[in-house]
């Protein structure tokens, strides 16, 4: 996050104006002065909790008994009492989260706490409880299940931040703030992102696509004002006796690029391809034609699936798996075979107006990289770019054929959404 002196001064003035009595007011005040966008909020909140904890040390109650705590948790979940849930999270971490001997000397673990407490097993009980109290009579009855599930998820979050706070007391806040607070969604590494982070990433698709679309549109607008066409200007000047009153501009061809996406969707890089496909899908009106091909060791066209699934990023990967044939005998990716098959079956998708993006880590599991196939594509297409989600240092290690491919097609490192956005806006031939 970039925070300058101006923001710091404002934050200080805000603290001065608001006082330090109300923690939530302070939080909002600091957020208003320091942040410039909602995307920064998931970073800000955990850091705020670290530096302005609601309390220090344990909750100061006697060590909790597991069954008793579960009992009270169930009641709090049924009541949807957020404040009480927070206190219970503190107690739970205090009682079950400490590790090392005696417990708590080495640290506090939210995983261990949740593993002992198992709040998810309370689900059926809480749901029935809410229903029995008449909270679910009639139509809203069917909503209860989802609501309870959401509350349990919230409680898990509370436990996680409580454990983080306790660890920070022991190890120093700065270190925890640096290491344990997740980066904003657009900086999450594609290859190491977990399920929730991927879901978060998918949500950044639309804003990112809009941003790119404006940038591309602006570039196109500027490009439309071409240079002066001397021959036609002189011709037009004949009617004014040779005085070039009206300069004639060279008309640019409305060059909407055609795009071909060739995506490795094997397990290791699926998140990356998934995200890129969604992004291109969201940008579709910027191109005259987009065709998307997915491969593992066989290629299949998935353009239709993407159009169909515009509103459902979640199930995209599953749908591609189910409806396209991407694997033959084994499930690991084989770039050589896939490129070869692409040339053979869909070679006519590539023409002089097409820009081809190949997405993948170029790890071909020791099989033949089939460089001639890639060369064939680069010769026919206008441009070919290879986006590789692996850090550059790892290209060529192990079974990576990245350096060999990089000689034929231009290969760029593309590890997070920010980089991807920047690359796409720079590389697209608008």
């Amino acid at each position: 996050m970039r925070i300058g002196t101006g923001e710091t001064v404002d934050a200080a003035r805000a603290v001065d104006a608001l006082g330090l009595t109300d923690r939530e007011t302070l939080r909002e005040g600091l957020a208003a002065t320091l942040l410039h966008g909602q995307a920064q909020r998931p970073v800000f909140d955990p850091v705020f909790d670290l530096y302005f904890p609601a309390g220090v040390g344990g909750p100061g109650t006697r060590p909790a008994d597991r069954d008793d705590l579960r009992e009270r948790l169930a009641a709090a979940l049924a009541d949807n009492d957020t404040a009480l849930l927070g206190r219970l999270a503190a107690e739970a971490v205090d009682g079950f989260g400490g590790y090392g001997s005696p417990s708590g000397t080495d640290g506090w673990s939210s995983y261990q706490t949740l593993d002992r407490l198992r709040p998810q097993t309370l689900f059926a009980r809480v749901r029935d409880d809410v229903r029995a109290r008449g909270g679910g009579a009639g139509f809203d009855g069917r909503l209860v299940g989802d609501e309870v599930r959401r509350r349990i998820a919230e409680f898990r979050g509370l436990v996680a931040s409580e454990a983080r706070r306790r660890v920070a007391e022991r190890r120093g806040r700065d270190e925890i703030a640096r290491r344990a607070v997740a980066p904003t969604a657009d900086r999450v590494d594609f290859l190491s992102a977990g399920a929730t982070q991927l879901a978060e990433l998918r949500r950044t698709v639309r804003p990112l696509a809009r941003k790119l679309a404006t940038r591309l549109a602006a570039r196109r607008r500027r490009a439309a004002r071409g240079s002066i066409d001397l021959r036609r200007t002189l011709r037009a000047s004949l009617s004014t006796g040779g005085v070039p009153v009206r300069p004639v501009l060279r008309r640019r061809r409305p060059a909407r690029p055609e795009l071909v996406l060739l995506c490795d969707v094997s397990g290791s890089v699926a998140g990356f391809s998934d995200f890129t496909m969604l992004l291109v899908q969201a940008l579709h009106d910027q191109f005259s034609k987009v065709r998307v091909f997915a491969f593992v060791n066989r290629v299949d066209e998935v353009t239709g699936l993407l159009v169909h699934g515009a509103a459902d990023p979640e199930g995209l990967g599953a749908r591609i798996d189910a409806e396209a044939s991407l694997t033959s005998h084994h499930g690991s990716s084989d770039y050589g075979a896939a490129l070869g098959e692409f040339v053979e079956r869909y070679g006519d998708a590539v023409g002089p107006r097409t820009t081809v993006f190949v997405l993948g880590d170029a790890r071909t599991n020791r099989s033949d990289p089939n460089l001639p196939a890639l060369r064939w594509i680069t010769e026919r297409a206008r441009r070919v770019y290879w986006l590789n989600p692996e850090p550059r240092e790892r290209w060529g290690t192990g079974d990576s054929e990245a350096p060999a491919y990089a000689e034929t097609a231009e290969m760029r490192e593309c590890r997070d959404a920010r980089q991807l956005g920047a690359l796409i806006s720079r590389l697209l031939p608008v």
Partner: protein
């Protein structure tokens, strides 16, 4: 203008705007620090309403600049009244050229547009720059001078500086990324969907005749819809519309048929309707 954060909530509530703690805190700060307030969030959560409510509380005039693609300096800042200038010139034929020229670029021939209006004069004003993201990038450059120094430069007249700073609210749906420079000059506020309790209170306030239990059900169903992956999730304004619809239909409890028939008030895309129908089991009947 305000004494404390609670004062903000209370007085905004007096005009019928129920503010979350985040909103109240930020409005208080914007007033105290004298900084413009950039409000972002989905459509229909009350961004524009907030500016109106603040204007009402402060007893200030609301000056509104509605941005759109192609809004320019002459729409946002000022224009010269060319017709009047021409009249002036033809009325004074025996004058020297120098007299005539200096004359027609004076205050009298100036047509102030929202930004200039907000800066001139001593009465309290709230300047609402609505849907800032719809305007072109060039307009942002224009706003920078206004928002950082509260002054406007008219080449023929010189610089006009505000004697009394307006309370400025900029709204944006984030359809275009605003520039860092603009963001840096503003306090940032994101208005999201309100929590269940607040939304219930809003519904009760806006549709007072609706039965309390039904209002609670309405809010819960809307909450469930928001948790789904929809193209356009229902916003607060849609919740209120739905509550009004139910009231007009004379409903006292929700049931499948009623929800299915009125889902169009909440959802604006056919595939959303289908998805919600499936998820809420409305087809089971």
């Amino acid at each position: 203008m305000f004494h404390s954060v609670d004062d903000v909530s209370a007085r905004l509530a007096g005009t019928g705007y129920l503010a979350s703690p985040a909103v109240a805190t930020t409005v208080f700060l914007a007033d105290r620090l004298g900084k413009p307030l950039l409000v972002e969030g989905p459509a229909g959560v009350g961004k524009t309403e907030l500016a109106k409510a603040v204007a009402e509380v402060a007893g200030a005039r609301l000056v509104r600049l509605q941005c759109y693609e192609g809004v320019d300096e002459s729409r946002a800042l000022y224009e010269w009244n060319h017709a009047k200038q021409l009249l002036r010139i033809s009325a004074g034929r025996d004058e020297t050229w120098d007299d005539a020229r200096t004359d027609i670029f004076s205050e009298e021939f100036l047509l102030p547009r929202p930004l200039l209006t907000a800066i001139r004069g001593d009465d309290p004003k709230v300047l609402l720059i609505d849907e800032t993201d719809k305007a072109d990038v060039e307009v942002e450059g224009l706003l920078l001078e206004v928002l950082s120094d509260f002054q406007v430069t008219v080449p023929e007249l010189g610089t006009v500086t505000a004697t009394r700073r307006p309370f400025v609210v900029l709204t944006s749906n984030a359809s275009r990324e605003l520039s860092e420079a603009l963001r840096r000059r503003c306090l940032f506020l994101h208005i999201g969907f309100p929590d269940e309790e607040l939304e219930r209170a809003i519904v009760r306030l806006k549709v007072p005749d609706l039965d309390g239990a039904l209002a609670a059900s309405v809010v819960r169903v809307v909450g469930a819809l928001r948790a789904m992956e929809l193209r356009k999730v229902p916003s607060v304004s849609e919740t209120i519309d739905w509550a009004r619809t139910l009231l007009a239909l004379g409903a006292d409890t929700l049931d499948e048929t009623l929800v299915r028939d009125t889902l169009g008030v909440l959802l604006k895309h056919q595939d959303d309707v289908l998805r919600a129908t499936a998820k809420l089991d409305l087809d089971a009947v």
